[in-house]
Symmetry: C2
Subunit: 401 residues, 2 copies
């Protein structure tokens, strides 16, 4: 194998950023678009309301017919028809006439106002109006709510229920969204077995497979758990190939230390190219990143907390990129609850949990499942720092979306 050059986190992130992956767009039904990421700006193809609409129950009139009306000299207009919501009006309203109209119904041609039912009297064929109506009274004009061609939603927006409702209101039945990145997830290790199976002595249940697959889903991707590779070339190669065939990227966990790390690197060398041989951070130094057929393959650490930390630093931004979104770590500034010791010359990321508005370092070790469960995120201890004092403010990079 080639000389194993360990690079900085920023160099690794730059390499990942240059991978030949682009967001793809697909058209989905609006009824299946909840939670998806909008791929184009949406402008309204119609006016809302699409027509001048009555906002009250009453009589559609030509307003100028009423301008001389008063309590003592009411205006009488002949009622020549009735329009209900959903009706298509065929009447062309002549001066001196009116039409009974219900809320939501379209105004007939010639009408420019609706006088409310409660404000008038009806006398047989006639409606009696006691005060002048102004043009637009009782009417919502076409486009007054939403104007045709106005910008409704911006590209990159995660569609919530008000957004899908808005798309519906202007007539969209389908909408362009970014295709969910397809992510193959592989666990490794002879001792690792699938949950649900009986545990034999010396075996442990898989944790990283589920954690990574569901973390991908929470980010908006689609995850395919391909299974657990044994510590041999055939098993690992078969699953990596399956992953590059079915998905946009492949994530291995446990493939970044010892035997499996070397196997992973060698398989990537055979099928493609190793781009990152190691990163100068702890955890994550033995992280392997390569390309096979243009598909990124990540060998992440096996310890759950280390795996998730490296996933957050390296993979989350790529998934977000494929969803057309700029990635920013979710962060929060907190004071440290306890003093933290680090090793000089080593850039460390330490798991912490947030408790009572403090960042509490988790000291159980990244091999513990409970460290992983307790951790809300991690803090960085730079290379030249040996001690972070309790009470010192730190930036916590949070796990998850």
């Amino acid at each position: 194998m080639a000389f194993l050059k360990v690079i900085s986190l920023e160099e690794a992130q730059e390499i990942i950023g240059s991978f030949p992956l682009k967001p793809e767009i697909e058209e989905v039904l609006v009824e299946q678009a909840l939670g998806r990421i909008l791929a184009e700006d949406i402008v309204s193809p119609i006016n809302v309301p699409p027509f001048d609409r009555a906002t009250v129950d009453g009589y559609a009139i030509r307003s100028e017919d009423t301008w001389m009306a008063g309590e003592s000299n009411p205006v009488k207009l002949k009622v020549v028809g009735e329009i209900n919501a959903g009706d298509i009006p065929t009447i062309d309203l002549k001066p001196g006439t009116s039409v009974y109209i219900s809320t939501g119904a379209p105004l007939p041609k010639g009408a420019d106002a609706v006088v409310q039912f409660e404000d008038v009297d009806r006398d047989g064929e006639e409606v009696i109006i006691y005060k002048p109506a102004y043009p637009g009274l009782g009417v919502m004009k076409a486009g007054a709510d939403i104007e045709k061609d106005s910008l409704l939603l911006r590209k990159g927006r995660r569609l919530g229920f008000k957004d899908t409702a808005l798309l519906s209101a202007v007539g969209f039945s389908t909408v362009p969204v970014f295709r969910k990145p397809r992510v193959a997830v592989i666990s490794t290790g002879n001792e690792v077995i699938l949950p649900g199976k009986e545990l034999k002595y010396g075996q442990i249940y898989d944790i990283n497979g589920r954690a990574i697959a569901d973390a991908v889903r929470e980010l908006g991707g689609e995850a395919f758990f391909l299974g657990i590779a044994k510590d041999n070339r055939e098993s690992l190669k078969r699953l990596i190939l399956k992953g590059t065939e079915c998905c946009d990227m492949v994530l291995l966990s446990g493939g970044a230390s010892g035997g499996i790390r070397d196997l992973t690197a060698s398989i990537i060398e055979e099928l493609g190219e190793v781009k990152v041989h190691g990163i100068a951070i702890q955890p994550g130094k033995p992280t392997i990143i390569g390309l096979i057929d243009g598909k990124p393959v990540f060998g992440l650490p096996g310890y759950p907390t280390s795996c998730l930390t490296n996933f957050t630093l390296l993979v989350s931004p790529l998934i977000k990129k494929l969803l057309g979104q700029e990635y920013r770590h979710r962060t929060t500034r907190k004071k440290l609850s306890h003093k933290v010791f680090s090793v000089k010359g080593r850039r460390q990321f330490l798991p912490v949990r947030i408790e009572a508005e403090m960042a509490v370092p988790i000291l159980k070790g990244s091999g513990a499942v409970t460290s992983f469960i307790d951790a809300d995120g991690f803090i960085e201890v730079p290379e030249n720092v040996e001690i972070l004092d309790d009470g010192e403010e730190v930036e916590v990079i949070l796990f998850g979306i």
Copy 2:
């Protein structure tokens, strides 16, 4: 129809609370459990690790063999085998012997410590140890991470990726969750058509169907949009019956005013019982609530903002109840940006948006789609209040989860 008694919001909420609906439990695959609500407390069926596990690469030993060791008088132990992760150790370690062991592998019987590879020398069949090892060195004891029978997750928890990973780590392949409430959604109105169809003059696209269905989904329910009922008894009755057959509850929008309101009430009277004829709030006064075959049927207002306000006040708590969760409105306290006028003797809920940390009243009217889209929630103006001054602090009840 019976005398139409208008009751208070609290009375209506109490009636809904007494409806004969209970959360139901179903067992789902852990790989499909992300986002679901846990229906039972989960205790660990196993120890994690399930066995005493090596935490370093090195030699498994009986620690007492080394207690006399020193730099000048090292202890030599015979290496009688090798155990890798995933191996099932068959060796029973005798005094004076050791076994080569890799990280994650189970300790052989008799061994109680692992001395690290880097700290010893190997000489043919023997390992040379220069300092005493204490019992437990280089070992994670069975159950040290998670103890068998310890409580892991509490009933009512919404499962995130760390929770599904934890379930996986202790061997669960399925998990009991609350069944998603099945909610039938019906829109009404002769003028309302499905998005995607061509709009004829006088028609508008449905908005409430999509809004309510997707709001139900965001809350954790399953929504079934049954279509748009015409303003006639046959059409409406057919869809209401379909809803009570397929779902746990039926939500109609636009069925709460005018003709459709009366039709809805009459159909519920025929097939079941009307429980609420109206609520003394604005919007929502003509809201109809009934039971058909023990299934709640809600006739919500037609204006989008009014519909969503009543959905939030009346339906959200019921959906949350079926998900085994106590419902609390999401609220935030903000200062009003503008003076608000209300009508004395009327309990009003007014849509507001949150902007620059202020609650901004939306004055466009609840008939406007844009009011609905702009609104982040609503504020209450009590019956005896006519004016809320700008700068006054108000509690905003937020839409959505």
